[in-house]
């Protein structure tokens, strides 16, 4: 019985929501047609009337604009966050490289491989040959460490950081955009940290020491990988890490440079037919990193848009209350306009435009807030890898456009009913202010 009620309520809500959206879209089309008619016939109420009316009633306009601006800012930041996560992880890796992991694993943390497999992959004809005549293939060990944040008040205030052990070819396959300091020396306790970690974790600065795996590690370089996921990693010698983390002889993955674009499919076929390699799976490196962003970016997007939807509902109500108040306060003016000969549709379009103008002004304020958010660097845990992903927010033209459209829809939804009321006022009663 309870289940039936739940289904019925769910169906009603779904129908109601669908009806509201369909109604909104249809009414928008009608208003657009009316707007075109009004503008083409030159019978529109002058827009200066709407703009001055908004600015004259500063307090109510200001409160509504603040609410709308906040929602637009949230909406933009959600899109910027999603975009930030995607861009960071998609910017990681090269399309010329292949990433090999054990079959059935989702990421390098779960994967495990053996030295013999590295040897076979390095010798595969699909692998590009380096200057020394050897195949450009690098075994990498990827381990998570728990690191307490700088100035943390408790041990619980920390996160998982990715430690990547790379071989001598590692930097050739993943060259950083810039390196402050130097490359770690093979066989030493030297490490390099990504620029996203600098100052945020104890010892994560050039010349300082980090402590993990029961050892101190000297930070000799700070890597700038151009905002990719590597900027939130710690890199060191793969042999040293295998010992320190007691993983020898296993490592996590192999990254290799492909001889040419078609080599990936040939390599995949070869691996399938080789009993020593058919337990492995090969992907283009950029595709691997792109896949790593999917769950997190989708979650951020859905959660963020859900929050934005709830807030926008409130903002639409706010806009509606403001516009109803505007209509009530300006009843005599509306009646006068109608008496002078302005058509019902002109009044309707005029008030919808006013509400949309209010929303556009609010969008500008909200986007200023979103612009300020670009100065910040955010980090979160990517559940697919259980490691930190650190990223900047970027306000792209697409996000600006989407935010403006979102604001206009809110303004339209909030202004439609009050505008309808304004256009339908009795002229006789309205000219007397009633």
């Amino acid at each position: 019985m309870t289940k039936l009620v739940t289904i019925a309520v769910g169906a009603l809500l779904g129908l109601g929501l669908t009806g509201a959206v369909v109604g909104l879209v249809l009414s928008l089309l009608v208003i657009l047609v009316l707007g075109i008619i009004v503008l083409a016939s030159g019978e529109g109420v002058p827009m200066i009337y709407n703009i001055r009316s908004l600015t004259q009633r500063g307090w109510t306009t200001g409160v509504t604009a603040a609410g709308l601006a906040l929602v637009v800012c949230i909406f933009a930041v959600v899109l910027m966050t999603t975009n930030g996560v995607r861009t960071t992880l998609k910017a990681t890796g090269s399309s010329e490289n292949a990433k090999i992991l054990r079959k059935g694993t989702q990421n390098e943390i779960q994967s495990g491989m053996l030295p013999e497999q590295l040897r076979l992959l390095g010798a595969a004809p699909e692998t590009a040959i380096g200057k020394d005549g050897h195949g450009l293939a690098s075994a990498e060990l990827v381990v998570l460490i728990y690191a307490v944040k700088q100035n943390a008040k408790s041990e619980e205030d920390g996160t998982n950081l990715t430690v990547r052990g790379v071989g001598p070819l590692g930097l050739e396959l993943h060259p950083p955009h810039a390196l402050d300091g130097s490359m770690f020396k093979a066989g030493s306790s030297e490490i390099m940290v990504g620029k996203g970690l600098v100052g945020r974790y104890p010892g994560a600065r050039l010349g300082e020491k980090m402590h993990f795996a029961r050892r101190d590690w000297n930070v000799v370089g700070v890597m700038d990988h151009g905002g990719s996921a590597y900027d939130a990693e710690i890199w060191g010698d793969v042999d040293q890490f295998e010992d320190a983390f007691q993983r020898r002889p296993a490592f996590s993955s192999v990254t290799l440079k492909l001889k040419d674009a078609a080599a990936l499919q040939t390599l995949r076929t070869r691996m399938e037919s080789d009993p020593q390699l058919n337990t492995l799976e090969v992907k283009r490196e950029v595709d691997y990193w792109s896949a790593q962003s999917e769950q997190l970016s989708l979650f951020v997007q859905y959660l963020g848009l859900f929050v934005a939807a709830i807030f926008s509902f409130g903002a639409i109500l706010g806009a509606m209350i403001t516009m109803y108040a505007q209509v009530a306060a300006r009843t005599r003016e509306i009646g006068t306009l109608r008496a002078l000969g302005f058509q019902q549709r002109a009044v309707l379009v005029s008030f919808v435009i006013e509400s949309v103008l209010l929303a556009l002004g609010s969008a500008a304020i909200g986007l200023i807030g979103a612009t300020a958010a670009q100065l910040l660097r955010f980090s979160t845990v990517n559940w697919q890898t259980f490691s930190e992903v650190s990223f900047h927010l970027h306000l792209t033209p697409g996000i600006v456009f989407a935010s403006i459209v979102f604001a206009m829809v809110m303004g339209y939804a909030g202004g439609l009913l009050p505008a309808l009321r304004a256009s339908r006022l009795s002229i006789v009663a309205a000219t007397k202010g009633g």
């Binding site: 009337y49 001055r52 004259q56 306009l337 109608r338 002078l340 000969g341 302005f342 002229i427 000219t431």
Partner: protein, 230 residues
């Protein structure tokens, strides 16, 4: 002289719930081109309702209202709005200026519904404001004007399109005596010098003296007609 306004057996009934409230009961009225008529009567006599019907902002329950040879009784809402813009100049008791627009912009409003270009509109607005003696206040907002000046701006707005008729609902009702006299003089001037047809509703017998004909309504019927100047 020919009749510019003809009201033929007009009845108007409002409803409060199921209760019919008759306001006008078979009005017959003919107003000539160039007339200046005052409608008087006690509250509830139907004078403002009659004015609203003539101005095309209300509709009769039955009968016909013919203005300038056009029967406006069955006009659609849109046609009526277009007709008002062309043929009716409104003067309200509380001026009904848009407070966020300047005097110039208020007067220009009805002209926005015409095909006139900006330069021609400007010329006409300046002329209208000159007629009412406010050409030096055209860039002032209503809040910067006195009540009498606001009403003169409203009159400029009413005449700027050169409408067929001017309808004034208690045009001096919110003014002091001196301002009221100025407004009545202005209306008389518009009637005598510019031959505008004016229908004015007023409670004020002194104001009604400015009209050429005073018609009294009582309980929805025309009771008597007097000519103050005669």
């Amino acid at each position: 002289m020919s009749a510019i306004i003809e009201v033929r057996d007009v009845k108007k009934t409002y409803h409060r719930g199921n209760q019919p409230i008759p306001v006008l009961d078979g009005i017959q009225l003919s107003i000539e081109q160039g007339a200046f008529e005052a409608l008087m009567g006690p509250s509830g006599s139907g004078k403002t309702t009659l004015l609203n019907l003539i101005a095309g902002i209300d509709r009769p329950t039955s009968g016909q209202v013919i203005v300038g040879g056009e029967d406006i009784t069955h006009f659609s809402e849109g046609d009526l709005a277009t007709w008002r813009a062309r043929h009716v100049g409104f003067i309200f008791q509380f001026y009904n200026l848009l407070p966020v627009l300047t005097a110039f912009q208020n007067v220009e409003l009805p002209l926005l519904l015409t095909k006139l270009g900006k330069a021609e509109r400007q010329k006409r607005v300046e002329t209208a404001l000159r007629v009412v003696g406010l050409e030096d206040r055209m860039h002032h907002y209503p809040r910067e004007l006195s009540g009498g000046q606001e009403q003169r701006v409203a009159i400029a707005r009413a005449i700027v399109t050169d409408p067929t008729i001017l309808v004034a609902d208690e045009p001096t009702g919110d003014l002091d005596r001196k301002s009221a006299e100025e407004i009545l003089k202005l209306l008389s001037l518009l009637n005598t010098k510019f031959n505008k047809t004016i229908v004015m509703v007023t409670h004020d017998p002194a104001a009604a003296q400015a009209a050429k004909i005073i018609r009294r309504l009582d309980k929805g019927r025309l009771a008597e007609e007097t000519r103050p100047s005669a």
